[in-house]
């Protein structure tokens, strides 16, 4: 049962990351390919604050969100002169830069590659406490996300995505919206990173590589662009799909390749026949 709770909390983490990624990719049209960077910054920030400075873990989570939001904005500023493919490539590059930073500058417990020894409050201290706390945080994030994109602000994001030049002619600055939403997305991903660290008890740089960033793109793409429901569905269904293979009793030599092959085929099929994802609201080809 503990493993199910653990998986549930992991789903909460990835739902939050997907909501954040969808803000910038689906709603605002910024081809972000480095969400794992901010997940890592959030995880390292909260763990460092907790282990080395003794900050209560909930306070550390909040601080990690703030720090990650600020780091996100700082990393975006030099990239703002780029768009489309070039922007995507630059954000992809951030994965390598930050992997090196985590690897070489990130604190680590002696004798290991990573960091462990979090002092967690009771509400995060066990798998069943974590799933409850994780769910509460995730529900709050989904509600906030709906508020964020549901009204005039979300409309401005979608206009930024559709025709930034026309938005300028209406007296609004698309760059302003890009910076604000990138910061919000970074902060939410940082919060998810803090929950991720609490769930795993141990973090190391290999958790925050390009692979993780690509996984986020896949979850968002499958769930659906410009849709909070899509972010939730994509993460939950694909993690459930991946993990379900554990319970099929297949020999591991078969389970791995079958899982990978099905996963890939699902993605190719979806892109061919339903580009906007399961419940998406935007199609970049239209």
């Amino acid at each position: 049962m503990d493993h199910i709770f653990f998986l549930g909390t992991l789903m909460c983490v990835w739902v939050m990351v997907c909501l954040a990624a969808n803000f910038v990719i689906g709603y605002t049209g910024m081809m972000a390919m480095g969400q794992a960077v901010y997940l890592g910054v959030g995880a390292y920030a909260s763990a460092t604050l907790n282990i080395y400075l003794g900050v209560n873990y909930f306070a550390a989570m909040a601080l990690a969100a703030v720090v990650t939001g600020a780091v996100a904005v700082l990393t975006l500023l030099p990239l703002l002169r780029l768009s489309g493919f070039y922007f995507a490539l630059a954000t992809l590059g951030l994965n390598f830069v930050f992997f090196d930073l985590f690897h070489n500058l990130g604190p680590r417990v002696e004798g290991s590659e990573g960091l462990y020894g979090l002092e967690l409050p009771a509400a995060l201290g066990s798998p069943h406490a974590q799933i409850v706390t994780g769910l509460l945080i995730t529900i709050a994030c989904v509600l906030a996300a709906n508020r964020l994109v549901g009204g005039a602000f979300g409309r401005a994001l979608r206009a930024t995505r559709d025709r930034p030049d026309a938005l300028i002619a209406l007296g609004k600055n698309p760059v302003h919206y890009q910076i604000v939403i990138w910061g919000v997305s970074g902060a939410l991903t940082g919060l998810a990173g803090a929950l991720y660290a609490a769930t795993l008890f141990y973090i190391d740089p290999t958790l925050f590589t390009l692979n993780a960033s690509i996984l986020v793109l896949v979850y968002v793409g499958v769930g659906g662009l410009a849709s909070n429901a899509g972010s939730v569905l994509g993460a939950v269904l694909l993690i459930a799909f991946t993990e379900s293979f554990r319970y099929l009793g297949l020999p591991s030599v078969l389970a791995g390749p079958i899982q990978q092959g099905l996963y890939g085929a699902l993605l190719v099929g979806l892109m061919l026949f339903r580009r906007q994802g399961l419940v998406g609201n935007h199609d970049f080809q239209e």
Binding site: A144, R147, L148, G151, A152, F153, R155, A156, R158, A159, R161, D162, R163, D165, A166, L167, I168, A169, L170, G171, K172, N173, V180, V184, N281, H282, E286
Partner: protein, 260 residues
């Protein structure tokens, strides 16, 4: 002499792209409460003129004033706040936004567009959104488009997209509107809606309009003043009737249209 209600004034503007001269020494006024049409052949620099006024292009020579104040150093996204709005020849609608959302987005100073207001307790953001929706709906109704308010703008016929883009500029509240070929490519039955709207904006709201237009019937119907841009400069400028009957204008520009 300048005054608060001077409107838009262009003084001795010149423009070239590399070695290609577009125009030299172009001056004109777009006063409030009037329609000033700018006509001329393709390539005469009419859209370039709009881009210079809006700060999208920098003119190497000449200046632009709004009510006597220079507009030169205003960044394009602040032009609306200064009082100058525009449309585009190629529409540039927000295709995935609905027709009403295209109009809504243009309404200035919305609290709901600012993050710090979004999560404040209370209902002010929701109430503001409802007020703005009513306003946008009323605008759509003036051109009989309220029935397509909730359709994605990208799915509307071209003429209706042009009307939406015109309403979008109107919704900014800008005192001076620069309309770049608003009637071009529009179904003939929609054109009276455009001319009626522009007339109303000028007569009832005292807005100043620069109408860049190839459709001479539209110009004849609503322009007070006409400026003809041709061959790198202004070849005629004055009241609509006298310019459209000017021999040189007929010979060098209008003749070509009517004989085509």
């Amino acid at each position: 002499m300048t005054s608060k209600s001077d409107g838009l004034r262009l003084e001795n503007l010149a423009m070239h792209f590399g070695g290609v001269h577009v125009f030299e020494d172009v001056s004109m006024r777009i006063p409030p409460g009037q329609v000033t049409a700018c006509i001329g052949p393709n390539g005469a620099g009419k859209t370039t003129l709009i881009n210079i006024i809006c700060g999208v292009l920098a003119a190497p020579k000449g200046r632009v004033f709004l009510d006597g104040e220079p507009l030169d150093s205003t960044p394009p996204h602040q032009m609306v706040q200064r009082g100058v709005g525009r449309t585009f020849q190629d529409v540039r609608i927000f295709p995935s936004l609905t027709a009403i959302e295209n109009v809504l987005i243009a309404i200035p100073d919305q609290q709901g567009e600012r993050l710090r207001h979004l999560f404040r307790p209370g209902r002010s953001v929701g109430a503001e959104e409802r007020r703005n929706r009513d306003k946008a709906n009323a605008l759509l109704a003036t051109v009989a488009m309220d029935d397509v308010a909730d359709r994605p703008a990208g799915e509307l016929p071209f003429g209706q997209q042009k009307l939406v883009s015109l309403l979008r500029a109107v919704a900014t509240g800008a005192r001076i509107l620069l309309l770049d070929e608003s009637a071009a490519g529009v179904e003939i039955e929609l054109i009276p809606r455009i001319t009626a709207l522009v007339r109303r904006l000028v007569a009832e709201e005292s807005r100043g309009v620069l109408l860049v237009e190839h459709n001479i019937d539209v110009v004849r119907e609503i322009a007070d003043h006409v400026v003809v841009l041709q061959g790198g400069g202004v070849i005629a400028s004055g009241p609509c009737d006298s310019v459209l009957n000017d021999e040189r204008v007929i010979k060098e520009y209008l003749g070509r249209i009517y004989n085509a």
